[in-house]
């Protein structure tokens, strides 16, 4: 090992600050493990401890407040050289704002070590209370003592299944604990408790860490759990085109210009899939297609609209001013179109069960729901195709197959009813 972890004995912290000891014990731990500084990636958070990176001979990454654990997790997940050790320096403030990242790294047992510099307040910004400030502690924002209890970050990490967790009161030598944390082939958290000389010591005269811990029912400990192994999610294909249906022209169409069908019904009644089948049929008949769905945020409830634009041109338009026909198969479908229908001048195909809306459209009625709700959307498209004769019915039957619908609809009943 050519170099030490730290490049100076004079670290940039206040006299008496425990941050010195955490950095020095990290150096000792790395020396004990014979780890070269360039095999260490030190990720620092925002806070006094974060100034350390200038004094490190390792790789250093200085990120955002509270996000260092997530940033380090990304580095750890991305490293191809697994001999590198990722170490995070973070404070109690960073641990509070970035707690989700600690939970996630624990849950996934991501290989990194975090050293929480827990001085129980925000030192850099003026001594305010953090989520790790214990009850009874005086800070600049709790001058009459903190009235709220602190998180037990160690128990939180353990509950999130961290594989190594330790709480230690900062002392001249606790390098063995840090060494064990770094050695752990997974997520390690060391909570190092200290008192900030600039704020905590002055405002909590004579208070000892041991007394605080006793008061809040916490103690120093080291806990090693079994490591958790999981495989990365990798791709199932080298080419998405291999996974889609290739469509070749099989039928002739009689369409002379772009035509737009809007079909509105209820969610769960197969409106989108029926539209998809019709699109496949259109492509098999040599048409170009644009297919847009519209539905509320809750996928399984309310209206469902499918808009199919078909065109004899090479490249179908993305949008039309107004559909040529609107098919409505249910009350949900009607309600969502009430405004639009008022000025709609095309042909409206309306299910028999529905009241006549205010519209300028010509209305054609049929019992689209006669074979049940699930068949209503598909059946309505068979009805339209029979009437408009855009291309052969067989194309739509092929379309059903491509949309995996063929066995789910009552095709024979459709044929019988429509005299196909």
């Amino acid at each position: 090992m050519d170099k030490k972890f730290l490049n100076s004995n004079k670290l940039p912290f206040c006299a008496g600050c425990g941050h010195h000891l955490i950095a020095q014990n990290t150096e000792k731990a790395l020396e004990k493990l014979n780890i070269d500084p360039l095999d260490v990636i030190l990720v620092s958070d925002i806070g006094c401890h974060g100034i350390i990176d200038k004094f490190a001979n390792s790789h250093t990454v200085h990120g955002l407040h509270g996000r260092s654990v997530a940033l380090a997790a990304g580095i750890s997940l991305g490293l191809k050289n697994k001999n590198k050790k990722v170490i995070v320096f973070i404070g109690d403030g960073g641990a509070t704002i970035g707690m989700q990242h600690i939970l996630e790294a624990s849950r996934l047992d991501i290989d990194l070590t975090i050293l929480i510099h827990n001085n129980m307040l925000y030192g850099m910004t003026g001594g305010q209370a953090s989520g790790l400030t214990p009850k009874g502690f005086v800070t600049t924002t709790t001058p009459d003592k903190s009235k709220t209890r602190n998180y037990d970050i160690c128990q939180i990490a353990l509950a999130a299944k961290a594989s190594f967790v330790a709480r230690v009161v900062v002392k001249p030598d606790f390098s063995n604990i840090i060494a064990d944390a770094i050695k752990n082939d997974g997520f390690s958290l060391v909570e190092a408790i200290e008192l900030c000389p600039s704020y905590a010591v002055k405002m909590n005269k004579g208070m000892k860490i041991s007394e605080i811990l006793k008061e809040i029912g916490e103690e120093e400990f080291v806990k090693k759990n079994e490591n958790y192994r999981w495989e990365f999610y990798t791709n199932s294909t080298e080419n998405l085109f291999d996974k889609v249906k290739i469509l070749e022209k099989k039928y002739e169409h009689k369409l002379e210009k772009t035509f737009c069908i809007q079909l509105s019904g209820s969610a769960g009644e197969g409106v989108q899939t029926a539209g998809e089948a019709f699109c496949y049929a259109s492509i098999l008949s040599g048409l170009s297609v644009n297919h847009r769905g519209s539905y509320p945020v809750t996928v399984g409830v309310g209206f469902s609209t499918t808009e199919i634009i078909i065109s004899p041109e090479q490249d179908c338009t993305y949008n039309v001013n107004s559909p040529d026909i609107i098919i409505i198969t249910s009350l949900d479908g009607l309600n969502v179109n009430i405004e639009k229908l008022k000025s709609f001048k095309g042909i409206l195909y309306l299910d028999n069960s529905l009241e006549t809306p205010q519209t300028e459209a010509k209305i054609i009625r049929y019992d689209f729901r006669k074979f049940g709700a699930k068949n209503s959307a598909v059946f309505s498209l068979f009805y339209i195709l029979k009437e408009k004769e855009i291309y052969p019915i067989d194309a739509l039957i092929d379309g059903l197959e491509l949309a995996n619908l063929k066995d789910k609809v009552d095709l024979e009943k459709f044929k019988q009813d429509l005299n196909i």
Binding site: L79, Y233, N319
Partner: protein, 371 residues
């Protein structure tokens, strides 16, 4: 694939296949409509996929992965993007290549998840503290779904920067028949890492003001990466000359290289009326232009695909026309504001809509009335 053979896919499908071919190797995702198909296809196609617990984590993981030498992408929509903004600032400052696909939907706030919009342009333009530009492209049609990802990836790598691709629900969730024989070849981006024996200085400007990149796994050189104001070595500084010059370089790096990533479509006919648009409204403009030309109207079209920073060539084109119509699917005209400020010239007419795509007729009416 032979001519005549078609597929029926949505825009997300093409974006993912293209960006994978261009070299994106990792997707980090958190689901949000209308970007979910991008997540779905990426999880099948990209070599690695990580499922993040939120969008802040997404951008942080991506930054870590990028620093480690991967080329990560994600896809989101405004609510998720809003959470990412601080971390995108970080990645921009750290100079980490990555691509963020922003599938726009109707706002404000959670708005309507399943309704398209082009309402996030000014957010993207102004998201970096200090007003720095993050290279931003907009997809206008399916051809762009295929071609823009490659340019976005190249820009991210060559300029060491996060890059944004704007798209919308109308592209990511709309299916179209598509003849794939016409798709151009996508080349995998070439990544060059620092290879000299001399001391590596992580933020020393090299060619085109871009520092050379070296992943964190190096055994030879110390690497420092920093989100705070820093000098060329990557060491935090308050406001030294070198550090401030480094920050200013981040602006110059993007602006001075814009020629390498300027993308637009310009269909010229006369010098009377110019339609300007971006995102999916562009395809509606094309339909309207076709009809208007059939009526013997002189109409030209500029489809802006590079949006941030604004390329000078847009102003050269605009200066030729008597009437300018800026067509965009938002309430007040964000592209218009970006191009002309708040006091728009008298010859500029805004055509806007929210909650639905702008109709072909609306554009035609405005041009007939004002053109």
């Amino acid at each position: 694939m032979e001519n005549g053979k078609k597929i029926f896919v949505n825009g997300s499908f093409l974006i993912v296949e293209s960006i994978a071919r261009a070299g994106a190797d990792t997707f980090v995702g958190y689901p949000i409509t209308p970007s979910n198909y991008l997540y779905l296809y990426s999880s099948k196609r990209l070599p690695l996929t990580f499922h993040a617990p939120d969008e802040i984590t997404t951008l942080q993981w991506m930054s870590g992965l990028s620093a480690a030498g991967r080329l990560p992408i994600t896809a989101t929509s405004f609510p998720g993007f809003a959470l990412m903004v601080e971390s995108i600032n970080m990645a921009f400052m750290m100079e980490l290549p990555m691509v963020i696909i922003l599938a726009q939907r109707l706002g404000p706030s959670t708005g309507t998840a399943t309704c398209g919009a082009s309402g996030d342009l000014l957010l993207v333009r102004g998201m970096i503290s200090g007003g720095y530009p993050v290279p931003t492209f907009a997809i206008s049609d399916f051809k762009d779904c295929w071609e823009i990802p490659e340019i976005a990836i190249n820009t991210a790598v060559n300029l060491r920067t996060p890059v944004i691709i704007l798209t919308s629900k109308e592209i990511t969730m709309t299916n179209r028949s598509f003849e794939i024989s016409s798709l151009k070849e996508i080349k995998k981006v070439e990544r060059k890492f620092y290879s000299s024996d001399e001391t590596y200085i992580p933020y020393k400007p090299e060619k085109n003001l871009v520092p050379e990149f070296l992943p964190l796994s190096s055994n030879k050189h110390q690497i420092r990466i920093n989100a705070s104001t820093h000098d060329q070595k990557g060491i935090l500084q308050h406001s030294t000359k070198e550090a401030l010059e480094n920050s200013a370089r981040l602006y110059k790096k993007i602006v001075s290289n814009i020629k390498d990533f300027t993308l637009y479509e310009y269909d010229e006919d006369g010098n009377e009326n110019l339609l300007i648009s971006f995102d999916v409204s562009s395809v509606v403009c094309k339909e309207a232009m076709k009809d208007l030309r059939n009526e013997k109207k002189k109409v030209s079209l500029l489809v802006a695909k590079t949006l941030v920073p604004v390329p000078d060539v847009y102003y050269e084109i605009i200066s030729k026309y008597k009437k300018i119509f800026v067509v965009e699917e938002n309430l007040n005209g964000q592209l218009c504001e970006m191009l002309f400020g708040n006091n728009i010239p008298d010859n500029v007419i805004k055509i806007n809509s929210i909650g639905k795509m702008i109709s072909i007729d609306k554009i035609k009416e405005e041009v007939r009335k004002n053109g």
